[in-house]
Amino acid sequence: MTAGTPRATGSPAYDLSRTRLVVIQVLVIALMATLLGRLWYLQVASGDAYQAQAAENAVRDVVVQPQRGLIVDAMGRPMAASRQSWVVSVDRTLLARLREHQQDRLLRRVAALVDEPYRDIRDRLLLCGAEGAQPPPRCWNGSPYQPVPVAKDIDERVAVDIQERREDFPAVLAEQQAVRDYPAPFGINAAHVLGYLSPATADEYEQARRDGDRTVTSQSQVGRAGVEKQYDKWLRGVPGSDGMAVDSQGRVLGADRNRRPRAGATLVTSIDARVQAVVERELKTSIMGARQTVDEVTGRRYEATSGAAVVLDPGNGSIVAMASYPTYDPQVWVGGISDDQLSRLYSERAAEPLLSRPTQAQLAPGSTFKPFMAMGALSNGYSPATRLNCTSSFTVGNRAYKNFESGAYGYIGFDRAMQVSCNTFFYRLGYDFWVKAGGDDATVKTRDPLVEGAKSAGFGHETGVDLPGEASGRIADRRWKLQYWKDNKDYYCEVGKEPGSDFLHVFAREFCIDGYDFRAGDAVNFVIGQGDTIITPLQLATGYAAIANGGTLWEPRVGKALLSPSGEVIRTIKAKVRARLPFPRRVVDYVDTALQGTPVDGTLAWKMGGFPLNKVPIRGKTGTAEVYGKQTTSWLSTYTKDYVVVMMVEQGGTGSGTSGDSMRRIWEALYGIDEEKVRPAESLIPGTTPPTRLPSVDARGLIEPPVIAAAGTSGQAAARPSSRGPG
């Protein structure tokens, strides 16, 4: 052995060991360095990503739906509010962590507890479009990360049971959710004004996300009709989110970051619940009465399938009440509508209750059209001094057009012709204008003062009301006839080639040849509101409002203003003038004065005996429109300077006969009329006329009725509605 340094004198084995010890030390250092490097990589280099994951892990964002805005009437009474409802939902992510048989057992327990079929809950938990998923709405159309609601409006005891036995119900949540509630002040329904809600579809949700619209989430309810739809984006509010700190079992440890939802705005409407209640009741009464009345033409009782009633403020076009019959309970949409309920709403046998008759029913106006014809004629050559013979019939070509009930009143002026609703008087007018226009030779370019009169009063065009889905009506003038002929002649020409001499075939042959021709018959039909001209009840109401206010055609409004939950006015919904009637003021005033006679000694007089017309001078015009193959449509238009009241009953008989009594009761209620006395204190609206101010929200969030400015009126007499606002 070599003797060198002391260390080197060790045995070879010892040196070997030393070398290997060094190797081990190097290895140790290498391994430790690896760990440190990896630590640095995880914690510093990619720390942000892991921190985000950890945040995601530990916090479950739950969308907190905002309180939907209230819909209140002009006095601040809530017509659509919110109430808390218990909803049971299942978190799909947490459910997936359970084993198959555990999931099965859990869901069966849930199904039994909430009393829903197990199969339905299973279906509901599958994403739409996933393998084995049922078509919507049985599948889950919302976000895969949102808990899926499987049972709504469940009993509080069941919800509390689920909450208290979390261990037994992993992945199951029982939460309170705000759903629409309809307090129905004074028993109103107002379904067609309010509209209804249904969940946002996946498409709407996607669209909102693309547009960066945060107000729609997968759980949002979206307005589908009425003001709920019209003012949806204000009523909806902005959803918040609750970041809930959760543990690995999904149990909530506490609230984390959260964003408070912003409650939707309160919509103040011009509807007055008391008036609405009376109008709804009277419309129904009229319809029920008509159904007990035998139609002398058909010998059957009136079908009275549907009806509409509108109360309008002629001063600004705001809608004070609007009723539609048949109606539905807006509550059926809350918490999901069943298939049965939905099919009933769309069924023809139930007369399609979803249809809003005041804005969507289109019917021939009948004699209620005459004042507009009169204004057209009086502005184009005729004068109040005009006297025409009101015969029992008027022959055009080879056809005799009869007066209603074949009455004859001799030579009368426009005023009397309107009061007694003389058809032959107006036939002569219509025929005269038709001849002046060139008769059969007139073209679509030919000026027709009567058509102009109708158009300028708003017919044939949407009124612009703030309710969705409004129908435009139609004026059957020369232009329309030509267009109609162009659109349909191919069909009728084919039909005409078939053999047969019944009405349809004869008509088809004639139509094929000259169906575009606006004939004398068309002209005389038009002037009494018959034929192909159709209008909506709301159009009629706005037209009469224009007469009442001296010639201003308003766009009708339901919405008055949008208030923040704390009561600040976010937006005033301004009344809008659509047009001015192109008739001289004296003409409008003449017609207005003439119509005052209808309840006195005209067609409405038999229903108005004892009514203090000297104090409340009601103007009126009745209408009974014939409809091919159906019973007559009953129309009744009445107004004062304060209100316009229009009622229509489809297949309901005559205007005055069917609706006269109800109309009188509505007026009595509006003005507080008791027998022959007018008691403003008894009127439905304090101060008789609709309030101009808005309801306010007090410090506690209660909605207070507007301050009635006019002195000496009976503000105190009104019930003081107070209700808690949102937020």
């Binding site: 430790m32 995880l42 950890a54 945040a55 892990n57 079992q249 440890l253």
Partner: protein, 410 residues
């Protein structure tokens, strides 16, 4: 003929006064002790933090695990003190007994009624309400057993190195518990054991070819185990899940992902002790035992986690230093064995938490919650101290190799 071969260089010959055994207390490896103490304290805190909100484990007593871990550490410290203070020769005397006991323990886990199956492995013994993991003790047993055999054989031939013939009995000593552990199966412990055996054999001075043979043989065993179907597919998936969590998404894959999130969530300085969201919400399974390092990662951040790695580096340095200075083969082999065991087990455990090693259930020595592991680790620390004391307590001369007479006493 020399009767004595200096194991250590004769550097200290004649230098200074001879040191007596009475002055041995100051010669304790204080740095080693401090390191171990630091790991124990940290471990206690981390286990406490991991179980603070685990009502399912603690039954509502927040500090239950802190107390249990403190008790374990206390028992372990007593064991370590006993081992450290025991005479060297007595330890060698007891080595075969301890080894035999650990083999019996490993065999017992397969006996119904005594052994228990947890997480698909027969790893536990349930004796009178106590649960023990014989595999943890077996590591210590194997280290002692191998050190004993190698030292006995080489000293019998008055050699300071081992030759090929000596390696075979040493491997046989390791093979018996290794097979029993493979049968459990406990891949993690097996890996630790393999590395330890490799280190021991390497450091004992065995020829290089033996090391290659050993490495090759180990690889062959692994291949054979996979091929023969001894390991089920799910076990392989679990093993590979650290590279691709989707292989075992509900088990090891979930573990490894949550562990990585927890550690990554810690950042540079951590979220503060008891404040880690992943930890306190219980997202990391087995966090107080095998994944205790993730608590440090999340709550103490890079600073704390690196400190633990550094503490282990310190521990290993001291262990290897003790091995280097050991005056006999028994001490050197034992110290190296302990160093390899601690070193690789720590690397495997932390590597598993960091997602660079497979998810195998090995605890972090001295830190993880668990009685058996704690006892075994602290006893090993005691042995390290014993070896150190013996080295430091001697006046620098080489070891006195026993004569046949002396040896015959065994």
């Amino acid at each position: 003929m020399t009767v004595s071969v200096p194991l250590r260089p004769a550097r200290r010959v004649g230098s200074g006064p001879a040191r007596s055994a009475q002055t041995s207390w100051p010669r304790l490896d204080w740095l080693l002790l401090a390191t171990v103490a630091a790991l124990l304290v940290l471990g206690g805190l981390l286990v406490w933090s991991a179980t603070l909100h685990r009502v399912d484990l603690t039954g509502g007593d927040d500090a239950a695990y802190l107390r249990k871990q403190a008790t374990n550490a206390g028992i372990g410290v007593v064991l370590a003190a006993v081992v450290a203070a025991t005479d060297h020769r007595w330890l060698r005397l007891w080595a075969p007994v301890l080894y035999a006991a650990s083999v019996v323990g490993l065999a017992l886990v397969f006996v119904p009624g005594v052994g228990a199956t947890i997480n698909g492995s027969h790893s536990w013994l349930l004796i009178g309400g106590l649960s023990l993991q014989p595999a943890e003790l077996a590591k210590f047993g194997v280290v002692l057993g191998m050190a004993f055999v190698l030292a006995e054989r080489s000293e019998a031939h008055l050699r300071q190195s081992v030759n090929a013939v000596d390696v075979v009995p040493a491997l046989a000593i390791a093979a018996v518990p290794a097979l029993l552990i493979l049968a459990q199966p406990d891949l993690g412990t097996l890996m630790v054991l393999t590395v330890t055996v490799f280190g021991v054999v390497g450091l004992s001075g065995a020829p290089k070819r033996w090391l290659f043979l050993l490495a090759g043989g180990g690889a062959a065993v692994v291949v054979a185990a996979v091929q023969s179907g001894l390991l089920a597919g799910y076990q392989l998936d679990r093993f590979g899940a650290f590279t691709d969590p989707s292989l075992d998404p509900r088990g090891a894959g979930y573990n490894t992902q949550q562990a990585r999130i927890a550690i990554g969530n810690g950042g540079l300085t951590g979220q503060g002790l008891f404040n880690g969201t992943q930890t306190q919400a219980g997202f990391v399974p087995e966090q107080h035992t095998d994944f205790v390092f993730t608590v440090a990662g999340e709550e103490l951040g890079l600073a704390g986690a690196a400190a633990i790695v550094a503490l282990f580096a310190l521990l290993l340095w001291r262990a290897l230093r003790i091995a280097r200075r050991a005056e006999d083969l028994f001490g050197r082999v034992a110290a190296v064995g302990i160093a390899c065991w601690f070193g690789f087990q720590a690397f495997q455990n932390i590597g598993m938490c960091l997602g660079i090693m497979p998810v195998t259930g090995v605890p972090l020595p001295l830190v993880s919650y668990g009685g058996t592991s704690m006892f075994a680790s602290l006893t090993a620390v005691g042995l390290l101290l014993n070896i150190h004391l013996r080295t430091a307590g001697r006046p620098g001369h080489g070891v006195v190799v026993r004569n046949r007479m002396a040896r015959s006493r065994f």
